[in-house]
């Protein structure tokens, strides 16, 4: 069981989920002795939280492929295997991202028609969307597939749209391609071709290309890009947010007037903080495989884990993977294209 605050916060999050999700059963995979010491200290439902022993764990700073090879009983490998064997429906992990994605990619099957899986991330925006008034838009891929073809980008659009429909209760999510201009001809060849293909995809609400500055504005509900671009964008957005916070702290220290000004803005800042609170979304879903994997942030607290489990449960109840599968079948029927997993394909992960 990985994560910066594992196992305590992970177990606490699972314990809370066992109380708030009456239909769900949660399997904690990790050191049974450690887990057995933590659970009795927490409110939980003992009929809905079970322990599955795994003697090894991939540390956060280990190289994914090497670590998985050296640790056959790593909790992420065991957990992915349990889901593959039908002992679970979805997997949540706050551990090493690369190792997690690699483990599930090796144990699970791609949905027919999907050539590459995509890791999606949510980002707070100005606009709200869906029945839930959701402030988050979805960006995918943010690191599972470094080089994406035009067909991969179309697949990501289908997967992102299905996810937004289910989780944000957004009946017709606006899907856009991330490029260096809004014009159809802008961007690398794969993006230009994807634009053409997406225009034909009438089942999607494709609004065209968006630029980086449109992401925080919330122009699109689902932003599609390659894993390389998505990862750079996501980390830059995170960096900007952190820098603004640091600058506010700096201003706070500088003089009394600024301090008073920030104090006056406190309620608004608190509201902004709650709106942009990533923990309420739990984590980043890996889409395209026959089961759902939610990659929770390494720093996840119990609350983030509870919410990640809730999202996983909701996605399972709403048959997210089935929904993506139907989308891929429709695409295949329309284009006569049936995606196949390329020999030797494995998720290339940016960490």
């Amino acid at each position: 069981m990985g994560g910066d605050h594992a196992p305590e916060q992970i177990v606490q999050g699972a314990a809370e989920a066992s109380l708030s999700l009456p239909g769900a059963e949660i399997v904690l995979v990790g050191d049974a002795v450690e887990l057995g010491k933590i659970l009795p200290r927490l409110r939980h439902d003992g009929a809905r939280v079970r322990v599955h022993h795994a003697s090894q764990v991939v540390e956060m700073d280990e190289k994914p492929a090497e670590a998985l090879a050296a640790k056959p009983d790593a909790s992420i490998t065991v957990a992915a295997g349990l889901v593959a064997a039908g002992e679970g429906d979805a997997l949540v992990s706050a551990g090493n991202t690369g190792a997690s994605v690699l483990a599930v990619a090796r144990s699970w099957q791609l949905i027919p028609g999907v050539r590459r899986a995509a890791l999606a991330s949510v980002y707070p925006t100005e606009l709200r969307r869906g029945d839930k008034d959701d402030p988050f838009s979805l960006i995918l891929d943010v690191g599972a597939t470094i080089d994406a073809t035009a067909e991969d980008l179309v697949t990501f659009a289908i997967m992102g749209s299905a996810y937004a429909k289910l989780i944000s209760k957004n009946r017709r999510p606006r899907v856009a391609l991330l490029s260096n201009g809004t014009e159809a001809g802008k961007g690398p060849a794969a993006v230009v071709r994807a634009h053409e293909l997406l225009l034909e995809a009438t089942e999607l609400n494709f609004i065209g290309n968006v630029e980086g500055l449109d992401i925080p504005r919330g122009v699109a509900d689902v932003v599609v890009c390659s894993g390389f671009v998505g990862n750079v964008v996501l980390k830059m957005l995170e960096g900007v947010s952190e820098t603004i916070l640091r600058m506010a702290r700096y201003a706070h220290k500088q003089n009394l007037a600024w301090r008073l000004g920030l104090a006056a803005l406190r309620p608004a800042l608190d509201q902004l903080k709650s709106v942009t609170d990533w923990e309420q979304y739990g984590g980043a879903p890996l889409l395209g495989l026959d089961h759902l994997f939610i990659k929770a942030h390494g720093r996840s607290s119990a609350r983030a884990i509870t919410n990640a489990i809730k999202v996983a449960s909701k996605a399972q109840a709403g048959d997210l993977c089935g929904s993506i599968g139907r989308g891929m079948r429709e695409l295949a029927e329309r284009t006569g294209r049936a995606g196949v997993r390329a020999p030797g394909d494995e998720a290339g992960v940016v960490t």
Binding site: L19, E25, D31, A32, V33, G36, K37, L39, P40, R41, L42, R43, H44, D45, G46, A47, R48, V49, R50, V51, H52, H53, S55
Partner: protein
């Protein structure tokens, strides 16, 4: 005819019956519900029926519900086919008439003398098993009752404990008298606390291994099977009632068993023996006409698998078995906790 060999003392609300009384609205609802409206926890009815099936067993119910509810509660028990030998309820009208408002909510000054008087007033049994919940002070009351009977808590200390529990002087006198009259001995072998609030189990460890907090009645049945009180067939019927409630399935029952083993409340060997014996019981007809369930071999395999998933991890050990309980501190803590909960509502 000899006396009973085993007495089972049950609380009702939140132990047998799913009752909400956290708000005034809940109290009103509970008071006007008909017998048919009242819901028992899944498995509790089969368990109580199984315990009441033997002539050597005596079922005593001591509940904090007002005595005005006797007819509806008795009707509910009759509807469920549960027999009982004694049924004690709280006379709250008398408390109101005498202006004793503290007594309306008090648990220890009401329940402890009721338990002691029950034992003093009937042929003493060599074994007792007590059932309560985590909503009030059942764990303290039952342990205190058990320790008074063994002499671990001298009667001289009882007055101080009852004082901490804010008992009225006549309640103290009544309890002391009942404690002197009750037949003594190490009779309370098991205390089962139903975790209605889903309280953490760790704090209950201070009461020792005789007290087992359970999340559901399958766990209670497993504990009683280990104690030699229930047969595998009877455990199977508790499980079937829970499955029929649709709130549990084979997986959650297997997880419940794993939870008990992990907490050191059930030996792996006993769990495995139960799987074998239950298989024999199923083969002899207990699961006849249950084609909604997989073959028993599959069920048994799932239960064994759930134990195997724990690896070689041993259960939590007991370190404080011989430590005497400080009941005054426990009563103070419970009183404080109740005040905090009231403020939080």
């Amino acid at each position: 005819m000899g006396g009973p060999k085993h007495v089972f003392r049950w609380d009702l609300d939140k132990t047998y019956l799913r009752t909400e009384f956290d708000s005034f609205r809940d109290l009103v609802k509970s008071a006007i519900e008909t017998a048919a409206d009242k819901q028992a926890y899944p498995g509790a009815t089969s368990l109580l029926r199984a315990l009441g099936a033997s002539d050597e067993h005596r079922i005593c119910i001591v509940s904090g519900s007002p005595s005005q509810m006797r007819s509806v509660l008795a009707a509910k028990l009759a509807l469920d086919g549960v027999r009982y030998d004694e049924f004690v309820l709280k006379n709250n009208l008398r408390n109101i008439a005498r202006g004793r408002f503290r007594a309306l909510r008090a648990q220890i000054p009401y329940k402890l003398p009721a338990l002691l008087e029950s034992r003093a007033g009937s042929p003493p049994a060599p074994h007792e098993t007590l059932f309560g919940d985590d909503a009030e002070a059942d764990a303290i009351i039952y342990c205190l009752y058990a320790d008074l009977l063994t002499g671990r808590v001298p009667i001289g200390d009882l007055e101080r404990i009852l004082g901490a529990a804010r008992a009225y002087p006549d309640e103290i006198a009544r309890t002391l008298d009942a404690a002197r009259r009750a037949a003594k001995g190490p009779v309370v072998g098991r205390i089962v606390i139903h975790l209605d609030r889903r309280s953490p189990t760790m704090p209950f460890r201070r009461y020792g291994s005789r007290l087992v907090p359970v999340f559901n009645y399958f766990q209670a049945a497993l504990v009683l099977y280990a104690d030699g009180v229930l047969s595998a067939r009877q455990v199977l019927f508790v499980a079937l009632e829970m499955i029929d409630s649709r709130q549990f399935d084979l997986s959650t029952l297997a997880t419940s068993m794993q939870d008990l083993v992990r907490r050191g409340r059930l030996d792996r060997e006993i769990a495995l023996r139960l799987a074998e014996e239950a298989g024999e019981a199923a083969a002899s007809g207990a699961l006849a006409e249950r084609d909604d369930l997989p073959p028993f071999e599959t069920i048994s395999t799932r239960f064994r698998e759930r134990l195997r998933q724990l690896g070689a991890a041993g259960p939590l050990g007991w370190t404080n078995e011989d430590e005497a309980l400080d009941y005054v501190a426990l009563v103070d803590e419970e009183h404080h906790g109740r005040k905090v909960r009231r403020r939080g509502r």
